[in-house]
Amino acid sequence: MSKLDTLPEQAVERRPGELRPRELARWAWRQLTSMRTALILLLLLALAAVPGSVIPQERSDSLDATRWKDAHETLTPIYEKLGLFHVYTSVWFAAIYLLLMISLVGCILPRTFHYVRAIRAEPPAAPSNLTRLPDHASYSSADAPDVVLARASTVLKRKGYRVRAAGPGPEDSVSAERGYLREVGNLVFHLSVLVVLVGFALGGLFGYRGGVILVVGNTFSNNLTQYDDFDPGSLFSASQMEDFDITVKDFDVEWLQDGPRQGMARGFNAGLTYHETQGGPEKSYDLRVNHPLSIGDTDLFLIGHGYAPVLTVRDGEGNVASSGPVVFLPQGPDFFSVGVVKAPFAQPQEIALEGFFYPFFANVDGNPVNVMGDDLNPVVSMQVWTGDLGLKDGVSQSVYLLDKSKATKVMADNGRQLRIDLAPGQTVTLPDGLGTVSFESVVPWNRLQVSQTPGTRIALTGVVLALVGLLGSLFLRPRRVWVRVRRADGPAGGSLVEVAALDRSGGGDVGVVLSKVVDALQPVPADEKEKS
């Protein structure tokens, strides 16, 4: 293509009608990257974060979310459409912060170039009329103009100002500027916000979080099948999982016996042994709240505990149909717990138990009461079911729930459903030749959370940098000071001095700065004492 060819094309392009979309785009970009838009987006972001604190969120509290949905039948479908059960991963929330980030980049990048130029530049020459500036002062001095100018230059340099280099000719003024790093701090702050977001996103995309309930004495190997619940990021791959195993050897709790927090548990300590890799050396660790265990990139946390009564169910033929610790789920801080035992292969009939565990049972006026969470007087109290437990048709069921749709109640002589109450060591015989149930003992269980959160370091570095930048941006005061000196007309000689100061951040108290500079410019301190 020759140059000649391109000319007519350019001419065509310049026709106003065809430039309009581009103008529109430029206009839109300018709008998006304006301070005002950033401000409105910030407020929108704050507003958008509110619903997630009011409506239970699936990710942080799925049980609460389920309960809420059950209680609000009409609202639930609408809320679900709006993504209100997962606000912080919803499209509209993401749209706001992505727009904000685009706006930020669009605003900050051009400013960067601007700053770089400004930082290299000399302080600008004094405006022609200093007394027009809002903060100025003037006084007369007995010294000759060049003496005053020289002193101004020294004083301002000592105060950390960059002083404009003297030109070739005679000068009547000194220009000084300081606080260049403020803009840098502001830049660092804004760019660090992006860094934090990247770190946060990495954690969400490549990380995972899983939970497992481990009865004391049992071993957990870190692979997917062993988790009770597992919440991977969308780019997670199972190959990231480290090849460790953990055994909970023992678990201690300390119960407060008196004081305002009587009954509260503290001092949880799960004694672990673990292998970082299959066949590696055995190590041990006391896992406590606030003291997670790190294995490679994986962190392990102790986030819950409870009781697992050891129950043995023998069927009508005398064979063991179910045995071992059964995890009961605590319902509150007193560790009153609920649980289910299923023995689908019991002969001649299936057996199921559903009921409660009292760590510290007491009978108060005929009512069963749980005193506190310490297992000083453990009792299980369960109702008995038989018939079809729905476990043989291959549909998976929660171990904590009993499907009663086809099951039948086992009745007691008093005409009510049979309830068996057992203390450790006791055994009851079920009616109709169903079998027996024995309560052997109680063992604690721990709930461990296992997670990988890549990008944590990046996010942390980001916020720390942001803070440093912020400090610079807020506390460095960019200021310009000009001093102009004219020879006084009178016979005594001396000079007329004008000083002006400008705060470029809008937050500073320029009056104070100005009077300090003026003070510093005075030749004799005695002169100053006299005045004040």
């Binding site: 301070m35 005002r36 950033a38 401000l39 910030l42 407020l43 704050a46 974060a49 997630g52 604190s53 239970p56 969120q57 990710r59 942080s60 799925s62 049980l63 609460d64 912080y88 903060d135 100025h136 002062a137 006084y139 939970g211 009770d228 004081g259 305002p260 927090r261 509260m264 548990a265 503290r266 949880f268 709240v289 606030n290 997670p292 962190d299 986030i303 819950g304 505990h305 789920l329 605590p330 929660s398 171990v399 729930l401 959370q449 944590t456 996010a459 916020v463 942001a466 803070l467 912020l470 807020l474 809008g506 937050g507 500073g508 108290d509 009056g511 104070v512 009077s515 005045k531 004040s532």
Partner: protein
């Protein structure tokens, strides 16, 4: 001394400082009523104390402090100055007693004294009053006196009447060195934001009723705006440090996720974003001044809602200041394996 006697000392000191704050409040109210009664006093006249003769032009120095120059003072001016001085003196004494209350509470509990809402309120009000006394001269805060002292008195009363809890060990998750650093930063920022909020509220009142007698003692709008900005500029990085650095580090250790959008975290984030918006507003044409001050008030509202509202109304928050909750997180996921 035993823990119990330290606790008793703390309770007595709280009562004592409450009374002294109240006396300081009375002194400032007398001061203000004298000001209101005194006509002719131009609102916020900037009597820059040592204004040099030669310094001309718009050198607006932030003053509005107690009238230090009696000049042609009548008896009223004298009374204003006297009660202003009495007020700040009483406030300073109260702050010292307040500190005694806080320290002895800590000695009673063998830990930092901010492990529950009562203690947090005690510490927060101390920061408000302490910062006020420290900044009294630097930022010429005399005009703020009745508001600050009144606020502190009321909050202390609320703390004693509704929030009181005996000394108790911490819940497990709170039992960490991060309690010292994270909560201290949060309290410091809360106190400072509260002072900033008071300044912004006065700004708005003054912008709305420029000639109101009650506001005669407050400085001019630009001074209020600048004081407000300087307090916020201090509080914002501290809040950033508390909420976005130490908070996540601690959350990671205690609850396994450094940020989990827990209601408390959500509102801390909202507060942060609102104050970022405030800082922006001050640099945006059309938002300067009134709108910025409004944003500062929104910010302080979110802050206090987070402290009081979330603790009382949200059952899902893991931050267990409000009630001695389950110390470890309950098992909430129902595993679906069979």
């Amino acid at each position: 001394m035993t823990n119990a006697s330290w606790e008793a000392l703390s309770n007595q000191a709280v009562a004592a400082c409450g009374i002294v704050y109240f006396l300081a409040l009375v002194a400032h109210l007398v001061e203000w009523s004298a000001v209101i009664g005194k006509r002719q006093r131009v609102a916020g006249s900037a009597e820059s104390a040592g204004s040099r003769t030669a310094v001309g032009g718009g050198v607006a120095l932030a003053t509005g402090g107690p009238a230090a120059t009696p000049g042609d003072a009548g008896e009223r001016t004298h009374r204003v100055a006297l009660f202003a001085r009495l007020g700040i003196l009483l406030t300073t004494i109260a702050v010292v007693v307040h500190l005694v209350a806080l320290v002895s509470r800590g000695l009673a509990a063998d830990r930092v004294p901010w492990g529950n809402m009562y203690e947090f309120t005690l510490a927060g009000t101390f920061v408000v009053a302490g910062l006020y006394v420290v900044l009294y001269r630097k930022l010429a805060l005399a005009w703020m006196a009745p508001l600050v002292v009144g606020f502190v008195t009321v909050m202390l009363m609320i703390a004693v009447i509704w929030l009181y809890e005996g000394v108790a060990p911490l819940t497990e998750a709170l039992n960490s060195p991060w309690l010292v650093i994270h909560v201290m930063a949060a309290i410091l920022a809360t106190g400072a934001f509260t002072l900033g909020g008071i300044t912004s509220a006065v700004y708005l009142a003054k912008a709305r009723w420029p000639h109101a007698q009650v506001l005669a003692r407050t400085p001019a709008l630009p001074v209020l705006d600048r004081v407000s900005y300087r307090i916020h500029a201090f509080a914002f990085p501290v809040w950033t440090f508390a909420v976005l650095i130490t908070g996540p580090i601690w959350a990671h250790q205690a609850w396994s996720a450094y940020w989990s959008w827990d209601p408390k975290e959500v509102w801390a984030f909202i507060t942060w974003v609102v104050y970022a918006a405030y800082l922006h507003a001050r640099a945006t044409a059309g938002w300067k001044g009134r709108n910025a001050a409004l944003l500062a008030l929104v910010g302080v509202a979110t802050l206090w809602f987070n402290f009081i509202g979330i603790n009382y109304f949200s059952s899902t928050s893991q931050h267990s200041y409000a009630a001695p909750q389950l110390a470890v997180v309950q098992v909430v996921d129902t595993p679906s394996m069979s």
